[in-house]
Symmetry: C3
């Protein structure tokens, strides 16, 4: 492995005539690209028929990359099965949510319960590992690609029943978990259980189900079933490759797969950073920070890799803008600031045909190296090389935990009532954005995480509460920390059954209140909420809260029949505090609440009031702190510096109090 942040990306020379290969590596050198990801989607040419393997092309590619001194990420090709497989084993294709058996096409399309697919994908992974496992240029094994989607076939139905039997042991326990007496759903034979789809429990779509608990379990099952495929390939690789990390490329905040169920099985967290277009570049930056945090949170704060990002455009959106000048560098450095030890592109040479032919690449269709995009890639390559190994292995010294929970995400969005317009990521993202604007260092962690090292625990829309979380949260508060949660939290148990108690269930006593009613209104309805003399807008959900004696009411509703009742409360428990926000506040309201919470612990970061200026710290294994300053604003900004150090990118020395002008997309790496 080269001793710097890995830089490179997906490279599929098998899609090109060999004469083109000779143009590629000199261009890679020009751009400082150290790393190639090989073999993704190469199944058809590695195994042109069930009984025939042909590694000659891959041999040549690997040899060339090795000879050129690149680091190699070697993929198994199971992200896209070949046509012969689908034809020989039709049940390797999925049955979709509408109940339709698919035939060959696209990618990411295999049934995770298909015995044929399992057998063939593992066999190929095994051969690859056997053949290339001792090549020291290989820095990681990359299994499959962007695991996701769903299948509802009879194989999956059977596998689901096995999964359920393991989870519940008996039908009585399953029926109780599923509240099956409702609507006569008592199952008396495992075989009666159907995957929840448009042909059974659903209407309108995946979030509209008659039985939330069945759908919840099916999502858990599907996540585990996909994981099973990964694990089987990983085991096949491990039989030949003792040490090299084995991973797969995740997709950040991707709802269908619970990455927390996967985390312990990944030697390394990697993900593909294609941020959805947001209302502004600053919001997009916040959104990426949240996703980086979630990925870093998978393995206890260890560095992750960005396995894919585009040098310029995506092609799959309705409207595909190019990345503005400087954005590629800015976003890449942001990923490093949040914990990336590798930053790779999809892809190095632009596809000729099919649905990605307009996806951006380092080299365009004409193979030019005199384009704006190539120049930016090369300039970034030079910067990364100059940084060397300074940040490799560094970690984020966060004292704030933001709880991310797939179960709550699923449960909140599939609930009938109170309000379909409340989306989990909107609420989670709103609280994260407030923390991010204040340049607080935040870990985005699962509800099972060890909370003992945090001063502040923020749990937006934690609808489903499981395990001993409530006790661990109480411990944070009792030792002087602050807990902050919101409306619709603490409502249901792990089976999505309501707690037979006052809401918010397990947090009720800690928070010192009960929720008596939950009103919901159309998006146009605003209820003004005054906090510290400032009026904020609340929308969507309005809980009518009855505070316990001693609970402090910090803000109240200004309208409707519950005007004057609490909208934000704080209970003091020992030296700690437990905050509750009973409605969906606008950004300003959330920011005001979060700032008060952070301020109590001295956790408001530098440049918290300079819009668009992100400051992030990483501490290297040798204890050296690197402070990244990134400017996401659309205009240059001049501030009085609240940070100090030597910028590793330019050598400039900066002291606190210096005037600091940041141009658009500017980045400092202070040390």
């Amino acid at each position: 492995m080269s001793n710097q942040i890995l830089y490179g990306g997906d490279y599929n020379p098998e899609q090109w005539p060999r004469e083109v290969w000779d143009q590629d590596y000199p261009a890679f050198d020009l751009a400082g690209l150290t790393t190639v990801t090989l073999g993704v989607f190469a199944w058809a040419h590695l195994q042109p028929a069930e009984e025939r393997y042909d590694f000659s092309t891959l041999d040549a590619i690997v040899e060339r990359a090795t000879a050129e001194g690149r680091s190699i990420v070697l993929a198994t090709p199971s992200g896209a099965m070949p046509p012969w497989l689908a034809r020989a084993y039709p049940d390797a294709c999925r049955v979709d949510f509408e109940g339709r058996r698919h035939v060959y096409g696209q990618r990411h399309n295999h049934c995770p319960s298909s015995p044929a697919f399992q057998r063939l994908s593992v066999a190929l992974a095994s051969r690859l590992a056997q053949r290339y496992g001792d090549n020291p240029a290989i820095v990681a094994w990359h299994v499959g690609n962007e695991y996701g989607g769903a299948c509802y076939c009879s194989s999956c139905a059977a596998a689901f029943r096995v999964w359920l039997r393991e989870r519940y042991t008996t039908l009585d326990r399953l029926n109780e978990a599923w509240n099956a007496t409702f609507w006569s759903h008592t199952f008396t034979d495992w075989a009666q259980i159907q995957p929840p789809s448009m042909l059974s429990e659903h209407w309108r779509g995946p979030n509209h189900t008659a039985f939330q608990s069945i759908t919840l379990d099916y999502r858990r099952f599907l996540s585990d079933a996909l994981l099973g495929g990964f694990l089987a390939e990983k085991a096949a690789i491990r039989a030949h490759v003792p040490d090299t990390p084995v991973t797969t490329n995740l997709m950040g905040l991707y709802q269908p797969v619970d990455y927390h169920r996967w985390a312990e099985h990944l030697d390394l967290a990697t993900w593909d950073n294609y941020p959805p277009e947001d209302a502004s570049p600053i919001r997009t930056a916040a959104r990426m920070a949240l996703a980086h945090g979630a990925m870093r949170g998978l393995r206890g704060g260890a560095p992750f890799w960005v396995m894919e990002q585009t040098p310029s455009t995506t092609a799959s959106r309705d409207v595909n803008a190019v990345k503005r000048p400087g954005v590629l560098g800015l976003w890449t450095w942001q990923s490093v600031a949040h914990g990336a030890d590798a930053t790779l592109f999809f892809q190095l040479r632009q596809s000729r045909g099919a649905c990605e032919k307009y996806h951006g690449a380092v080299l365009d269709h004409a193979g030019r190296t005199d384009t704006r995009v190539f120049r930016e890639v090369a300039a970034l390559g030079a910067q990364l090389a100059s940084l060397g190994d300074a940040t490799l292995g560094a970690r984020t010294p966060a004292r704030v935990a933001l709880l991310l929970d797939w179960d709550s995400w699923w449960a909140a969005e599939m609930s009938d009532g109170p309000n379909r317009n409340v989306r989990y990521l909107d609420v989670l993202g709103g609280y994260h954005r407030a923390l991010w604007h204040l340049n607080a260092l935040v870990d985005v962690v699962p509800v099972t995480a060890d909370l003992t090292s945090y001063d502040v625990v923020v749990a937006p829309l934690l609808h489903l509460v499981k395990g001993d979380l409530a006790a661990r949260v109480r411990a944070v508060v009792e030792r002087g920390g602050t807990f902050l949660t919101t409306f619709l939290s603490g409502r249901v148990d792990e089976d999505d059954n309501a707690f037979l108690a006052d809401a918010p269930g397990p947090f009720r006593d800690l928070l010192g209140l009960r929720v008596e009613e939950t009103d919901a209104q159309q998006p146009s309805v605003v209820n003004p909420v005054t906090l510290d003399g400032v009026v904020h807008e609340a929308r969507h959900v309005f809980e009518v809260v009855v505070p316990d004696e001693g609970t402090t009411v910090l803000a109240t509703y200004g309208a409707d029949f519950y005007a004057g009742t609490p909208a934000v409360t704080r209970a003091s428990v020992g030296d700690g505090e437990a905050w509750y926000v009973a409605t969906m506040l606008d950004d300003g309201g959330v920011a005001a609440v979060v700032r008060r919470v952070l301020a109590r612990h001295g956790l408001v970061g530098p440049h918290a009031d300079d819009a668009g200026v992100e400051v992030v710290d990483r501490v290297s294994p040798d204890g050296v702190l690197h402070r990244f300053v990134l400017h996401h604003g659309a205009e240059p900004i001049t501030v009085t510096s609240q940070v100090a150090g030597t910028d590793l990118l330019t050598g400039r020395v900066l002291a606190v109090g210096d005037p600091l002008t940041l141009s658009t997309t500017e980045v400092l790496v202070l040390s």
Copy 2:
């Protein structure tokens, strides 16, 4: 039966541990709840396997309710089949409009033509009747639940062909009725006939069909097929229960089922009142009044029951608001004002899990009796108890008939041309709202109703005209009454074939005009129509009318090439009048027309100009008139009373001319 308006609701203690049961009845007493509806959706625990029945739990529940002195509404559980049934008989599940066979899930999901479902549902109804039929606490039998939906399976196809053979006897008559020569549709074998679905005659959805007459017949068939299930269970009950009324809970203005085809088979009309959110509380109140009227119209004006309403929120909408303070009482009294002799909740205790866990209930998840909702339920219980039997059996002395016709509803909305934006309920509701604002007493009746007792007959958008209706309408006019109808009425016969004559067909001579052209425009296009000097807005459909000599033109179009031609006309026939409104007027325009019609007969009610003040009369069997005054407005209002009597709820005596202040949601029951 207790000697007051029945009060209570759905109660499913089988979904709870027995210790919870002991908390329930004391709470019910506290709230004055006299009635429990038992056994809805209990199939799985009553019959855990095809050959095994287990009534032990229901026995305990019925015994307890009986011992507590409650009235019982006992349900058959056929609204939700158990898993074993679907697994043993896959064809008990439906094939949907898209042609997909469903598997087990949800509820209201059985194929009405499935022999297995028919046999098993009837067998269970029979056993229930045999076991509990002589329990005097049972005040009604409740078969199934909210019949609805559609099936397109081969069993239904076969049953449809039998139904058609009964209707048409020969294929020649069927082909003529269906105008089958068009697009080569001449059927030469009954077996060639397919249910009209997305796989045959439809595109885009249920209202887009190539052959309106086929789709119309299939809707009639489906309504009859569902009715067949009800009748089979009813017959099984009647074999053991000679007198207790047998009914099912309807859904008000529910398009898929023609309740007029059901009416004669119901011993009692009952319905579930979940009003869709409308533009304002006053419009919602008008909409409920229309639905109450339609339900009262099913059985010649006899009192009906509200079988379900929510104490607080629904859970099934995208956004689910709580009922504001006082609304529960206001709406309940409105139902009584319009003819309800029972008012029941869904449900008494809130579900733990699945899709109704956030649906409002008398007792919440914590079982509290100190909530706002419980207090309102209890206060209402006390009022109902104090009223006693005063209104039981009372009828509405209406002199206005509003014609409601499922065939026209279906035909108008599935028509290709002139305008898909015209919705039947919008037009019907518009004319009803005008009558309601004027506090006219209105019967909402089928086109087959005896019209001899009415002074005014209003027939909005009566697109399809069948039977001897035109002659009966003429008789109303000839004896001095008034007939009022609108654009797009009188266009097609019972088979949805155009009358081969000037529009509006059978009404043409009575109305004294012919429609030469029918223009349609986008919703943004307004044509000003002046009536009595006031300009109203017309939209959507603009018929170009040629009046006969002697027909009075009351209003004309103000724009387009037909400016100056008639928009509203009146023909005098003997002592009566026949009015025609050739376009879709706004609310003000409809109100002006309706007021003139009512005024002629002295049928404008009290407080007609006080917005939000509804006045409704019921006359008890002993001749006593009860006059309900309800205030739906969002603000208190002070008026000079146009009504008099003693308020049975407060004892206050009111005289005409007294100042009368009505607070929001206030109700008077004057006698």
Copy 3:
């Protein structure tokens, strides 16, 4: 054939009792209707069972029409199969894009690859030709009806594979054409190939495909498969009918069928003119002119027929307006101006039932001849009769070619990236509208057309470039002509693979530039582009262009990071010019570009600055020029005449410079 423009329309007396027939012909005489189209959709009564034919009704109809002296267009009825056929041969019904096998219903619903359908439709066509082929009243044979739609059944899959084998010979060549290495799609057996549908390569819909080249080939295949049905029936007719033209009714700018693949097989181009509602009557007129041009372009400029138009309303839109007074005449004369030698209605008598019962007709449900619509039809009939044969066979002396290309239409709209909001017809229509407003005479031609007779060639959004087009375009320029093309042109080859070269590929050198980046933005984003001092708005796609030395930059972007770079360029090549428009300009911007191009060649027509005044020329076989002046504006207009001649409709003599007042919908035919 009567010696005038054919006038009449679809006539289906078999749908009516015979007594009605006697009313029809006198009415047709009153209106001057010379022509009847018979037998469309008559399959069920011509062949009531597979083994039984019955021509008695058609005999009577044909005899009556012949006796009345009408011209007859005789149809084969294959546009709607009878019920017995679908029942006997279920695979004659289609499998839709969702994978669902349909059953009997609607029309235009046969699988083009069904052997049974092919055999039976050809057999019936053969019998019709044998029976009626020598009737001299028959002026054309009309095969099927409005061919269109798609099928994805196994028969079509098999036929697709045969079609592919003919196209590519080997799988290696197919895999290369499809860029199959991408996503492991290498096919190793023809049987592995699946039709691209929602069950294979597609998501969201027909324009969202993982493999554009597969979908492109399937569209070509489907177009050819439908053509195969036409050709088989035509051959059967030709066996008995040596000379009478055989045709079918096309649908103008209908995306699913590539009419250029059909053109050589049609003896006569005919089409059904139902213009979609556009933003204004003038835009609708332009749209019809484009479609007329496209139809005239099918057969090298030969006259075409309007086989259908409605006298008043359609019935199939959501909102169906009547044609305003005079519009019927205006639009009919527009069709004649653009090359129609026949103008026919759908239909002569209004349907009684089913989905067209509200579609306009010459005779309404009451059979009246005293309606506005009938009067306009009759007045138009008198005008057409008075014109006689003056324009029959006349041609349009155009010097501008507008390239229309189904492959580019398909490829541009199914592309992933850069922008789904760019629609081919919007771009093509925008350039056509600019030409039309300037009253330039334009031929709308395929990319294979001979370009030697044109001064100007306009190629908007010519995404896919095939064959020797680039060379022929270069020849136009080299001899002094002008070529104009736009953003996203010249991107892919016939297989939808990107040219491995600078964009715009084959046009790059001629245009003197390369496109380095392609930015795309949401519809709300406007970039101002200044041309000749006027600021125009650009949207959607913004190419960043690097001009060659010597290329003239005519306009630049005003905003974003590419502000100041070229938006419109012109390269001079010999005496000619090659223009490039790198973004989607608004109408004003396109008009400015087009006017400059036309002006250079003196091709701006008369009244180019009088909005709504269309001037079109046709030259008769004897060399006489007819100049049509049509006023589409909503208000009367008075101008100084730029045209001269005698109006054949009124006899008025007009000289250049005369004052000319045109009322709304007024038409002059000057000679």
